[in-house]
Point group: C2
Chain length 213, copies 2
DNA sequence: TGGAGATTGGGGGTTTTACCTGTTGGAATT
DNA sequence: AATTCCAACAGGTAAAACCCCCAATCTCCA
């Protein structure tokens, strides 16, 4: 039996959610808290350690982000699922960085909720399709950042080195080229990418997905 | 009834996969092809237009990546699911850029397969947890890139401008500071982040998640 | 076989960065 | 009132980055 804790300031919401989850086979809600501080307090008492914590992001007082950070830092074996209205990119990224195991929007149906729970139990992770579709959009956006210029192998090689702390002299050594040649290539890259700077070049190349930092 | 086409050079694999899928309620395999060229030919004839194409990545001749690109360019309403042994980051990113709707590893079980199909039908997207966990690892890696130094508001502001094509003179104008002051802040940031370069600073800041490009 | 184009390199310049050692003035502390 | 702290600023210097024009090879290929 997988135990679940709910953290949400809207009591009626967590109560109804609890009733829904308790109807699912194999899942039970062990407790629910109305704010972040109380949730952490309950987790510290260790009385009823849940397998999964459903966490609302927007709450008065301690925010869901803070609670997520605390849990991911102090109770690594508890899986945190974020539950929120916000489709905000920033908080998604923030949560992912904290180590949250999934991200649900509050407008999901009961069916997707069960699917999410099962996936988390089986695989440890679940991201709602909206989120993955965000990743998708995010990646597709990169393709729209101007036309990717044609670059030759040697230029591409230089491009990768340019996205580095290395000064040109070092790059020249690594590529077995003279500094002048590196300079010529650099100039061509600047032209092709229509940038004024090594920094501008890096930004464009990253946005086009040509290099990964 | 959702129709599915299979593209895989291992005939025995696509045959058995077809039999498995045909056992799923609501899904049927309309055809299968042994290589990319034949798949595109069948898609062009438009005889049996599938809802979903299961695409093997590694194939002799035309690779799955090429086929994916073709479908996403020419038949946007067909959902492409990549199916592969490779957990290689590069091909994942490549496929995502082409607009693939999901990514499955060949070692998935029948159950996850059905889950994937149902999710694609319902939501349009499915990424195997391994992949999302890759995203996860990728994101978590960022947290391990050294301790995030404490930076004041004004420094943070400068940091954002530094991740830009702007030279210092322009940044100074934007921040209503003299160039000298910008320079002192810059020096402090270099020190705090332990970098030698504006570029090094950008790299570290991005990896720490302090700025987004 | 001559020319187009890719690759590699040089010389000589300006601009921008990066680093250094300072000073001033205001706010907070004690 | 004296001290500490810090944001803001100055000037100078050396290094790195950036920009232009040009040249020697080499391959390819029409």
């Amino acid at each position: 039996m997988t135990t679940i804790a709910l953290v949400d300031d809207h009591k009626i919401f967590s109560d109804s959610l609890a009733s829904l989850i308790n109807d699912f086979e194999g899942f039970t809600v062990c407790w629910s808290a109305q704010d972040g501080a109380k949730a952490i307090q309950l987790l510290q008492q260790n009385a009823q350690k849940p397998d999964i914590v459903f966490l609302d992001i927007v709450m008065p007082g301690m925010s869901g982000l803070d609670v997520a950070k605390w849990i991911c830092d102090n109770k690594k074996d508890i899986k945190v699922l974020a539950l929120t209205m916000e489709e905000d990119d920033n908080s998604v990224i923030q949560m992912l960085q904290y180590g949250v195991r999934g991200y649900l929007l509050k407008n999901i149906g009961a069916e997707e909720l069960r699917m999410a729970l099962e996936q988390v139990v089986k695989f440890g992770y679940y991201y709602t399709p909206i989120i993955t579709s965000n990743i998708h959009k995010h990646v597709e956006k990169k393709n729209q950042s101007g036309n990717v210029p044609e670059i030759k192998d040697r230029e591409k090689e230089l491009l990768n080195h340019l996205c580095t702390e290395m000064p040109y002299a070092e790059i020249a050594k690594k590529m077995f080229l003279s500094e002048s040649t590196v300079d010529t290539y650099r100039a061509r890259l600047f032209e092709k990418f229509e940038v004024k700077n090594r920094i501008g070049l890096i930004l464009k190349a990253v946005n086009m997905g040509l290099v990964k930092l």
